[in-house]
Amino acid sequence: MTCPIDGIAIEMDRFLSLLSFSPDGWGDEIASGLLVTVSLALATLPFGLAAGFFIALAKQSSEPSLRLAANIYTTIFRGLPELLTLFLVFYGAQLGVQQLASFLGIETAIEINAFVAGMVALGAVFSSYASEVFLSAFRAIPHGQYEGGWAVGLSSFQTMRLIIFPQLVRLALPGLSNLWLILLKDTALVSVIGLSDIIRQVGIAARVTREAFLFFGIACLLYLALAMLSSVVFGYIERWARRTEDVK
């Protein structure tokens, strides 16, 4: 008769061998999925931030048509489910490119890269939320800051770069760190269009080994670890952005 402690030890051994990096363990597959998730989120971030910034600029401009164009953009991408946006981009782009190719007389089956489709869809969603964050940060900066810049003879671009932008970053950071966490979680959706991210890799492992709870639990823990790591990094960035305020 085995005692329960032995039973637990045997189970632990089995789990560890399932998660090992050896050929019959799934550690390496899951690690590659983690890499895909993180690189997708990191690749989306700069485009999303830049687009969000310019949309916020358009939203607070005095020109009504510019505001209207920006508001249509955010209404669409904040109103559609992220999954549907992803499908629209993935299948829509495929359809569009295919039609363009047949119009030009090229007969090939064209496949859109799932990574790029994920980047475009997630970037569109991220930028529309980011524009709201930037907009409220813009509104928190008093108009005198601009006037001061112009009064000392800076051009509007210089005023933006040297006076407004540093304050804007400080005001927008908490909101942006929230959006980054949402982006990280939204990357899970690209598993549906065939990108081998964390969810897809653990899904395969779960089907092969029939240990679904273990593997999906590990996926959840990995996302939690990424979230914790992100908050540490954002803590550093926030301190860096506020470094001038601490000077007494």
Binding site: S61, L68, A69, L84, F87, Y91, A188, A206, L224, A227
Partner: protein, 274 residues
């Protein structure tokens, strides 16, 4: 005399608005959107297929009903579950505060998709004990699993909304009610909650919208909600308009809700306007 002559003065006409760089870009972008809308309408008109419509319109409708049921029920159950969680989060006892903190951290820190998979596929690992408990019928059904996952998820978010809103009510309100000898529960219900709800309305509205958008993922675990029906229609017809119709329906729902919430907010803050 002088008043009359002053009235006779004719104002110069407004200077015509200059074609600034901003205005050109703005007009260009708006016309781009206009072209996109026109293209969409032309595409939908040309792709219009009465047979397709009569075949799939009822299934879209039933999918919409499933979506609304799922979201409505999970929001309601989540609201109930969020009450003890929000209460325990600020409890002085560590044994109450820590678990609820961990709960909220877990469900807000992981993707809803992973949580849904964990419940739908993961709980299958415990099939025999669940069968022994007589709970297997619940976890076998994708709809129930989605409902459970969404309820647990939204409870975490709603607990944070509730906690933030209750904390935003100044403590003087509690003390004032205390000095009048009102019991704590009555104070909460009649004094604190109405003020907290004004703060909570917008986040709650956002949570409803997020749940409607998030509910699209149940299509992946074979629940035929609006998204699921859309995917089924697309896999049978390979007609891109199936996705466009779904997009139009989702946009219409979200925009209606957003405007409704704004209207409610204007209405319940009337007394704060000057």
């Amino acid at each position: 005399m002088s008043t009359a002559s002053r009235l006779d003065v004719i104002k110069p006409p407004e200077p015509s608005r200059a074609w600034t760089k901003q205005r050109i870009v703005g007009y260009f972008l708006v016309s781009l959107w206009g072209l996109a809308a026109l293209g969409l309408i032309i595409f939908l008109v040309r792709a219009w297929n009465p047979e397709l419509f009569s075949r799939y319109a009822p299934s879209y409708f039933s999918g919409l009903i499933i979506t609304i049921q799922l979201v409505g029920l999970s929001l309601l159950l989540g609201a109930l579950l969020s009450l003890p969680i929000a209460y325990a989060r600020d409890a002085t006892s560590k044994w109450a505060a820590w678990p609820s903190y961990m709960y909220v951290y877990f469900f807000r820190g992981t993707p809803l998709l992973a949580q849904t998979f964990l419940i739908y596929y993961g709980v299958g690992s415990f099939k025999s004990p669940l069968e022994a408990l007589g709970l297997w019928w619940f976890f076998r059904d994708a709809w129930y699993c989605a409902l459970l996952a969404f309820t647990l998820n939204t409870a975490a978010y709603q607990a944070e909304i509730l906690r933030g809103a209750v904390k935003s009510v100044p403590s003087g309100q509690w003390e004032g009610a205390d000095s009048l000898g009102l019991p704590r529960l009555l104070t909460f219900r009649k004094i604190v909650l109405p003020q907290a709800l004004i703060v909570a309305l917008r986040p709650y509205g956002n949570e409803i919208i997020l749940m409607i958008k998030g509910s699209a993922i149940v299509a992946i675990i074979t629940v035929y909600d609006l998204m699921g029906e859309t995917r089924r229609a697309y896999s049978r017809t390979f007609d891109f308009q199936t996705y466009l119709w779904a997009a139009i329906i989702y946009l219409a729902i979200v925009e209606t809700l957003r405007n409704l919430i704004e209207w409610i907010e204007r209405r319940i803050t009337r007394h704060l306007k000057r």
